[in-house]
Amino acid sequence: MKLNILLLLISLLWWENAAFEKGLKPIRFQIKNAGITVDGTLPDWEYDIQWNAKKLSECHISGKANPATIDTGIKLRDKHLQGRQYFHIEKFPAITLQSKKIVSKGKGKYSGIFDLQIRDVIKEIEIPFTITSKNSQLIFTGEFTLNRLDYQLGEKSMVLSDDVTIFIELVNYKEAQQP
């Protein structure tokens, strides 16, 4: 418990000093509902990256997303997802992600251990991601799956899958800005 609080404080301190940039491509997610894949996005999000491929121990990736902007194509469903039984945006206005450790998995491939906070639940997750370079930009692409029930997003359902797959792509980080 004490360790959690300490980590949270450290994170908050770091968070204060982070220089966030807007994510250009919406965060996408997919979830099965009655056998049908529902696609959704979180268009309003931002990130901060301290990246040096040669010094992964000094790298840091963080991001925060605004769950009030969730979009599944059905407005009333989005409103419900914003409510207290899902993201509870009034109380928890941001979803945050912070890296703790990043390791190389081969050329352009990495894996990061992150703290993902949704609502008031912080859980450690592993996100594999790739980095490609295009027009002087580094493009970070990551995909991971989480169990929504771990984060108190809704309840067990006969039709709605527990697992949600999330797709994130950062496209506006310039290589020239690398430390």
Binding site: A34, I36, I74, L76, H80, S157, M158, V159
Partner: protein, 509 residues
């Protein structure tokens, strides 16, 4: 000498086996009959009113069990005058009363269910609570009220009760009155969303009996007044006078009914009881929790007019004070001076649980399979979750703030779908919520929406219904020409062929 002890042991063993083998049969013969109206059980059974200061305070356990138990007489069908067999009326008057319910004679589960069926059809009122003998024996009544009858000319919503030779009374207020549906082919479905045109029938009764304005206002107040509600819409209706009130009754379509505690301004769709065993809340506003068969028994007891004795804050619908209610003198008002025994309630509940739908004529097809996919794609499954086609949750109406403690007490789906909040915000039975309805049996039901405003499923998916110039195809209030039917804005903008597929699927459920 040596064989005697062996014989005794064998005899004892034999008797023991015999006794043991009887235990399950004995249990089946005499199911445990719960005492349902206890002060303890009543504490948290019903949800609070949308305005919690006016939540239901039912009669006490002591009062309830002091009421005499109902005697159940044999009943006889009521015919349209053109169909009544010759000499039937005279024959009825020659019949002796026959008491037809005796719990001690119920030997099997099937016996209980059969007895429940009899009680389901048994009218608890012979005082003319809705309509009387002179009405149903008059052809005009059927034409004026649009009352459905079977091909045999039977009006299955009321019964003749014979309480003795020459004592033939028209019986109202059976469960079957609101939960029997005469289909277009003349067949009847028991337990379905009923299509008795009760409010039109009541309007006919008031007019043909020459009820005074004061009488019309009085009975309408008993039925629907909720003076604490903002704007007091029922008070305004009463003040509008006899003609307006009668017009309001006439505006309620078949398939809806202004039962006591509800409204003819926001008339509830008559509920479909087929499948009710699996539903967690009863009433459109989810007023009563349904956790066990005891809850169902309580609901039956309460809703066959005992709720006229409820207090809502210091308000009682028939003008009682608590001193008068509890002074030991009987209250002669339909449904309030006697009660079903717990055994009778158990039998009815068992019967209601046993109801099953008739075979659905709409079979699965390529079109309906396409509709099934659309049903999932459109997110319908979230609320109308298979296999019950409801998630059994309560959704708040517009204008209702969910109290914090409700999240842990009830099954809440905390988003309003924007349907008309009138019923649940402005009536005695209103809780601020609507329960998510099951879609099972849509093929034999209608009109749709909680207030029966849409006659057909096609209307539900017609975006024109959101506009103020829309003419509702189901219930339309008596004092307007047009009215938007808001809310539940799903599937409105699907392509025509997708709507057809979705409806084809819905009709297979």
């Amino acid at each position: 000498m040596e064989t005697k002890p062996r014989l005794i042991v064998l005899l004892i063993f034999g008797v023991a086996v015999l006794c043991l083998s009887f235990i399950p049969i004995w249990q089946q013969y005499y199911p445990e009959i719960p005492r349902i109206w206890t002060n303890e059980a009543l504490k948290d059974w019903e949800l609070p009113n949308a305005n919690p200061a006016y939540s239901v305070e039912p009669v006490t356990e002591e009062f309830y069990y002091a009421l005499p138990e109902r005697v159940i007489y044999k009943t006889y069908p009521v015919y349209h005058p053109d169909y009544e067999p010759e000499g039937y009326w005279e024959w009825l008057h020659k019949q002796d009363a026959q008491i037809v319910f005796d719990a001690s004679q119920l030997k099997t589960e099937e016996d209980w269910i059969k007895a429940g069926e009899l009680l389901f059809n048994y009218p608890i009122d012979t005082l003319g609570a809705v309509i009387s003998t002179q009405h149903v024996r008059n052809k005009e009544f059927y034409a004026a009220s649009g009352m459905p009858i079977t091909p045999d000319g039977i009006m299955p919503f009321v019964q003749w009760v014979v309480a003795g030779k020459g004592k033939v009374y028209l019986g109202n207020l059976s469960c079957a009155m609101c939960h029997t549906r005469v289909m277009p082919d003349g067949s009847t479905i028991t337990g379905a969303q009923g299509n008795w045109s009760g409010d039109k029938a009541f309007a006919y009764a008031l007019e043909s009996d020459g009820a005074s304005e004061r009488a019309v206002q009085g009975i309408t107040s008993f039925l629907f007044s909720s003076p604490w509600v903002k704007g007091d819409p029922h008070g305004k209706l009463l003040a509008s006078g006899k003609k307006e009130i009668i017009d309001a009754y006439k505006a309620v379509p078949e398939g809806a009914f202004g039962r006591q505690g509800t409204s003819i301004l926001y008339p509830p769709q008559a509920p479909n009881l087929i499948g009710v065993k699996d539903r967690r809340y009863l009433d459109h506003g989810g007023l009563s929790q349904h956790r066990t068969i005891e809850d169902m028994m309580r609901y039956i007891a309460m809703n066959q007019a005992l709720d006229f004795l409820n207090f809502y804050g210091d308000y009682n619908p028939i003008g009682l004070t608590k001193e008068r209610l509890y002074n030991g003198q009987p209250i002669i008002f339909p449904g309030t001076y006697d009660r079903h025994s717990d055994a009778q309630l158990l039998a009815i509940a068992k019967y209601v649980y046993s109801l099953s739908p008739p075979e659905n004529p709409n079979k699965t097809s390529a079109l309906s399979e396409k509709g099934k996919v659309i049903f999932a794609q459109q997110g319908c499954v979230t609320c109308h979750t298979p296999p019950l086609f409801t998630n059994n949750k309560l959704t708040p109406a517009d204008g209702f703030e969910i109290p914090e403690e409700h999240y842990n007490k009830y099954d809440i789906f905390d988003i309003s779908v924007g349907t008309d909040p009138g019923y649940t915000m402005n009536t005695r039975r209103g809780t601020g919520y609507y329960k998510v309805p099951s879609l099972l049996g849509l093929w034999y039901r209608g009109p749709f929406m909680h207030d029966a405003t849409l006659a057909n499923l096609e209307d539900l998916f017609d975006p024109a219904r959101l506009k103020d110039d829309y003419v509702p195809t189901g219930f339309k209030p008596h004092d307007v020409k047009t009215k938007a039917v808001p809310g539940h804005e799903f599937g409105l903008y699907l392509k025509k062929e997708d709507k057809e597929a979705l409806i084809a699927y819905l009709l297979t459920l």
